[in-house]
């Protein structure tokens, strides 16, 4: 018993300082912003309104639209990206693969590339007489150019492509580094037993990477629910509000519209609640015993 208490105390030494820092720099502001979510007004002129902001949330069509868009990105984009990242990482982990370093660097590049240039580029690729349309026309897949960024469905698809392009390599890094912690002898043994590569992937790699898969699933969920840059720079939420995300709406409420920081805080807490619930589900599904 005494030994256990001692070990626990040492554990607290490891976690105390980092936790204190997060509590100070994240929780204190979070509490402030929670208090703000019960107030409404403009700029510095505020009054206490109780739960009025929260009831407003339920009748706010723009919030509803932004929430739907965000969930749509989440459901479609996150699984595609994670699977793609995992497959690529698995390929790059083949011991005898040539040009590994090149592939690895190339695929990681998008998340380093500046948002400004990639937004200009994506817009020009998907403009009416951009490369995307020219290629599809030349292949006779379409008869007339598609107005990508002016059609609600296509615009969402472009956003999904953009996020996948930018963040697949990022997730790949997590998988690759975690794969290094797998003892190669496990694979050797499986090969001797005659297990195919595909079988090894599903029977060895995936289960052993489970903690990291769970980690990427949670951070991607979180990242998608806070999606902002891509949408603002590529479609600016349009056409209409069809690509607008919750984060963009929060930003607009604070800095584009007549500032109502109280209502913006309320919308933020909607995200917190959704992410917390989703993460909890993911942890349960991911078999986390906490």
């Amino acid at each position: 018993m005494g030994g256990k208490t001692k070990s626990s105390l040492i554990g607290w030494q490891f976690v105390a300082l980092p936790s204190a820092i997060i509590l100070l720099f994240s929780f204190y502001p979070m509490v402030q912003s929670l208090l703000l979510s019960f107030q409404s007004g403009k700029g510095t002129v505020y009054e206490y309104v109780g739960f009025a902001n929260y009831t407003r949330l339920f009748s706010d069509p723009v919030f509803r639209q932004a929430l739907l868009n965000t969930l749509l990105y989440l459901i479609i984009q996150v699984p595609i990206m994670l699977l793609l990242g995992l497959v690529i990482a698995n390929f790059l982990n083949i011991p005898k693969l040539r040009f590994k370093g090149f592939y690895r660097t190339a695929i990681f590049l998008p998340c380093v590339t500046s948002l400004v240039s990639y937004a200009i580029l994506f817009k020009s690729i998907f403009s009416i007489d951009g490369i995307a349309n020219q290629m599809l026309l030349n292949l006779h897949l379409i008869d007339e150019p598609i107005a990508w960024l002016m059609d609600p469905v296509w615009a969402r698809i472009v956003i999904i492509l953009a996020i996948t392009w930018r963040w697949t390599g990022y997730n790949m890094i997590f998988y690759l580094s975690a794969m290094q912690n797998i003892d190669p002898s496990v694979y050797e043994a499986a090969s001797i037993d005659g297990a195919s590569k595909t079988r090894q992937f599903f029977r060895i790699t995936v289960p052993l990477l489970k903690p990291i898969l769970l980690f990427t699933a949670i951070i991607s969920t979180n990242g998608t629910l806070q999606l902002f840059d891509e949408v603002v720079n590529i479609t600016n939420g349009g056409p209409g509000n069809s690509t607008m995300t919750i984060s963009q709406y929060i930003y607009n409420l604070s800095f584009v519209y007549t500032p109502n920081f109280g209502y913006a805080a309320t919308v933020s807490y909607a995200i917190v609640i959704i992410v917390a619930v989703l993460s909890l589900i993911q942890m349960k599904v991911g078999g986390e015993k906490r």
């Binding site: 040009f99 190339a106 380093v112 400004v116 240039s117 912690n181 902002f228 995200i271 917390a276």
Partner: protein, 268 residues
């Protein structure tokens, strides 16, 4: 069979690399073209690289911006790696109910959009008298729930036998962490270093608010003010963007070896 398999893998990776490299190639080509050619989407090298370069040097103090960015990113990364790995290690190796609860609470902190906490945070740093200093940028993300979570999840695959062996050798708990855990987890530290450096290097919103005078600004802020005019010169912007991208790439080049070496070697 094996050859077909490998050709498929190569084909897949070539396609993925091409798609990934394309915008980057476009940026490099953009460096050599005039602004109006870039807007037209010209995809061939032009002869304006030196003109763009000289105009860039005239219009921005890149030396100071590079210094500020490096200072923040390096101090921030070293601090984050140390603090977050300590916490990730502590939460996983010395599991207890209280710590689990604390960790779940910490996890909540990464779920709130930054725009919502920015104003209270700004007020806080103002009262500390730390605005307009590199520490205002470094401190709020010097440990993140995100990185603690990353280390924690990776620690799950850390072979505990090694700690036991270390205890037998007479190491104390902190020595176990610094002499056994840290060297063993090299790939994890490398990945964390790349990601953290990148986050600090590219961070935008908070430095924009927290840094107040021109001489303290980081590179992304300087680049953004170049692209700010009604009629921006994209030629200059492209040169600035490529320059901004290079350091992260360099860090990636240096650290990615860790993903190849793997555990073998580091354990010994």
């Amino acid at each position: 069979m094996k050859n077909i398999r490998m050709s498929f893998v190569h084909l897949f990776l070539i396609a993925a690399s091409f798609l990934s490299l394309f915008p980057f190639a476009w940026m490099i080509i953009g460096m050599t073209n005039t602004s109006s050619d870039i807007v037209k989407g010209k995809f061939s090298f032009g002869g304006h690289l030196s003109a763009n370069w000289n105009k860039l040097l005239d219009s921005a103090d890149l030396g100071a911006a590079f210094y500020n960015s490096f200072l923040i990113a390096i101090l921030g990364t070293v601090g984050t790696l140390l603090l977050s790995s300590m916490a990730g290690y502590g939460f996983e190796v010395y599991r207890s109910k209280g710590k689990n609860l604390l960790f779940n609470v910490l996890l909540l902190s990464m779920m709130i959009p930054f725009a919502a906490v920015m104003i209270p945070l700004f007020r806080m740093f103002s009262s500390f008298g730390l605005l307009n200093s590199p520490f205002a940028v470094i401190l709020p993300s010097i440990t993140t729930a995100f990185m603690i979570f990353f280390f924690l999840q990776n620690t799950k695959s850390f072979p505990r036998e090694l700690l036991q062996a270390g205890r037998v050798d007479g190491l104390n708990e902190w020595q176990l962490f610094s002499r056994i855990y840290m060297p063993t987890m090299k790939p994890t530290y490398a990945a964390a270093a790349i990601i953290t450096f990148m986050n600090y290097w590219n961070s935008y919103l908070w430095p924009l608010i927290a840094l107040q005078t021109q001489d303290k600004k980081t590179l992304p802020l300087v680049v953004s003010s170049l692209a700010s005019s009604y009629n921006p010169d994209y030629g200059i912007v492209m040169v600035a963007i490529v320059l901004t991208t290079l350091p992260t790439l360099l860090i990636f080049f240096i650290l990615q070896k860790q993903f190849v070496q793997g555990m073998l070697g580091s354990v010994k």
